[in-house]
Amino acid sequence: MAEDISTSSESGLPPSIVAAEQRTREFLAQSKWRKAREQVKPLVKLDRARFLPLLIEANMGLAREMVSKGHIAEARQVLAYLATIAPREQLVGLEVDILGRSDDSKDCLGKFATVLIAPAGNLAEAERVRLADQVVLAFAALPAGHPAEVSLGPQLRGIQEALQAVSRQEWDRVPEWLRAIPHRSPFSHWAVFIKGLAAFHNGDTERATRFLSSLPAESAPAKASRSYLLLTNGTELPLNKPRLAEVILEGACRLAIQPGVAGLLLRAEQIWREGRHGDSYRVLRNSIGQFPSDGADWLGSVSEFYFQAPYGMSLAQRDDYLDFFHDLLSRGAAKNRIEEMQMLRLFALMEGPDTSAGDLRSHWEGFLSLHEQVRKSSSCFKSIAYSWLGQQLARSLGSSSFGMRSGTDRLWDAEGACDCLEKAKQLDPQNLPAHLQLAKVYEVLNRKSERNRLLDEMAEQFPEEKLVLLENARGCMERKAFTKALELLERARQVDQLDPAALEMVVSTRRQLARQHFQQHRLDKARRTLEPLEGLLTDQAEDLQRSRWTAWLRQGLLERLHGDAAQGEALLDRARAASPHAAGYLLFAHLTHRVYARQADSPFLAELRAELAREPSATRGFLLLRIFRYWDSTPDKQPWGVELGMLRKYLKAAAKGPCSRAEAKGIGELCGPGAFEDSASAFVRARLRDDPKDPLFRLFKHMLKPAWMCEPDESRRQLKVILEEARRRGEQEVIQKLQGIIRGLDYPPPLPRPREDIDFEGEDDWEAPPEFEDGLPANLTGGFPELAEILKMLANASESDIREFKKTRPKDMPEFVVDMLLESAKKGGLPKPFSPLPKPRPPAPQPPRRPPEENPNQGKLF
């Protein structure tokens, strides 16, 4: 602008005119057409050649503004004036605009056609396209005798007839009519549009997208194509231009015979995108009578979206959104049964850490009841539903042991779980997972007779089902019916040769059967029983069940104890050579010997002590701990006082050396609270020195605190802080463990139920508990072989062994019990023949379940 002024000044115009020109240009730049026009009019009289273009520009802008506002008559007046001052070709675009907006576009058809057939150089391509669109959109024939009739008439007719053929679905006729449109025709983009429509309605999405997206951008067909392209996934909705988005979406809705929903959907979408999820749901809920629905129409799909979306939300978003539904449900304000049913399903499946077993059951059963009313649920459906509920209620609330190591689990709602699984079984006797789950629950609850009955039932119901065969084999092994167990396992292996569980069980069963034969001096039988194991063994030394060295070691010991000593020694030598290291071999041999020989000592102990005194390491410590835990978890386990002491000492020393996170984790999990608590603490401290925020080791540290230090609210708070860190690091295992523990804190297990076979009427028959002032009575040990073993060991123990025993006593054994044991051992109170214990007092009938905040056990993590 400054440049223009100076040029004008140089041209000798007076400063007032230069200033007026500058103001005009400013008004034009600001689209202030009227002001620009008034400003420039007097200037035109002074210098027509210089200022007329400015006057034309101002009037053109004014006319276009009027057209856009719908003031067509006024626009016509401006156009008439422009016709007196501007060249004809400059006004074509404006004329097209005005005529296109006027109601009498048919009258203008001839005029447009005249311009169209004029030499192409006079018209810009965009104007030509707009003109052609107006001609087509008039949907009329050219006036008779019009100069364009010969050239454009057949083409125009071709377009109109082809569109007609599309609307009548006369697909064969469409190309026939379009043949009339040559490639260079002003209507060629209409031909492409019609081809796109035909492809779209014939399901050829790819071809339709290709045609419809190749149209001139501002043409009428291109604008119409946007709705089609939305349905072929060929375009996105311009959500930043709400009016345009609504027009396009409404077009698509019309095509799908769903007119009138575009505005509503766009509003719901916008609110959803703003993160106001409940409000977005409310928009559709309040505006559409049938919403939410479970139909196969779009309403069903969108309803489903709103009830499925929370599974993919962040925690905070999900909580807010669920609160919205919770509010509806708690006020009993569900709009219809579908809404209530979906809300209940959502609450059950999205159960949070604060959900109680009762809440879960009530939500799930509420959902099932409504489902029955709405869809007439099948018994298979209900059975699977109850099976799931039973499985949820049978979830472990964190084991009573440390870390991830399995221990004695307590279940969320054991009685509820049994009830639901029984129901699932009754609803569908073919529901195998429900049977298996129930058997597992009975096992955890130690309800042996019910479990055995169920196993028999399953054997009849599913005679060739692998899992049932394995479960039954386990039952047989517990009853020491090894031959029967082997038969079942062979059947299971016929079903699945590669099942590792079946393999391990075969190995274990054969070994136990062979040991039985060795003990009964049926040596050939014993060796024959072990022979088939050869093919099942592995060269992986870490596999304590199936590795060759542990197999040779076990057989060697059995031979040495019951059969051919020389052969036994040879096998032991082979085992030693193949073992990962001497300490591992010696510990395994020592523990195995103690189990097989049922002795407190073994010939390997002295060498083991010496070996453990050398260079302790975390790697070895981990293997030693695994070996110890392996034997400690078998039904044959012995009192391990001495071994515990040695291992604790070894691990404490190993914790001072280098240790990887995986090793520390493994050791931590295997240690747990109790005998190895201090070892675990040493490793946890070592790891936290390296990474003080490590959620896994912070959890371990927390779990290692004594129960009296765990104030429930504080524990919950600390655990939630660790949970946040675990989530941040994406440590799924730790997250799950923490969630279980937090849930366990919130919902303690119900108190044990009284046994059904106790007669509470005859309470007078109960004796008072005996008092033990002079140590334990000798006959008390008759029923507990472990106790007899401890007494025997203590009778021969040195002072240092006794000190060690005191240190390593079981966590829940009070010190005065140890003193009583020592007293009894000194008196030589060896076991006498068994005499039954005095009958215990009957437990009190179960009180109603307490709410979480009143529970005295809260905060006890172990």
């Binding site: 009428a220 979408e269 799909s301």
Partner: protein, 101 residues
């Protein structure tokens, strides 16, 4: 999207109907011709091929049919709607409306 909609069968359809619909659909969308469609058909079939799968789907499925309400609506239309051409009068009106935007 719901496997019933993907296969174009009603929610009450039995095993045979579902299988027939699946086989018919994959004839049109072979893995070579339309791998994405073939995969979605196969996944849908796996979810509802027998009563047990259908029950589990209805009880436990947690997948959202779309990323937002509008996305779900459009997905539904793309999958299900087999739009018939507009009548000539509707088409004229539609084209006029569009040309003015």
């Amino acid at each position: 999207m719901s496997p019933y909609l993907v296969l174009g069968v009603p929610v009450q359809a039995d095993d045979q109907t579902i299988r027939r619909a699946y086989l018919e659909a994959i004839k049109q969308a072979t893995p070579e011709k339309n791998p994405a469609r073939f995969q979605s058909l196969s996944e849908a079939y796996e979810r509802i091929k027998d009563e047990s799968s259908r029950c589990k789907y209805e009880l436990f499925h947690q997948e959202s049919p779309g990323a937002s309400p509008l996305d779900t609506f459009l997905r539904h239309l793309r999958l299900v709607a087999k739009p018939k051409p507009m009548s000539m009068e509707a088409m004229k009106e539609f084209l006029h409306t569009c040309s003015k935007t």
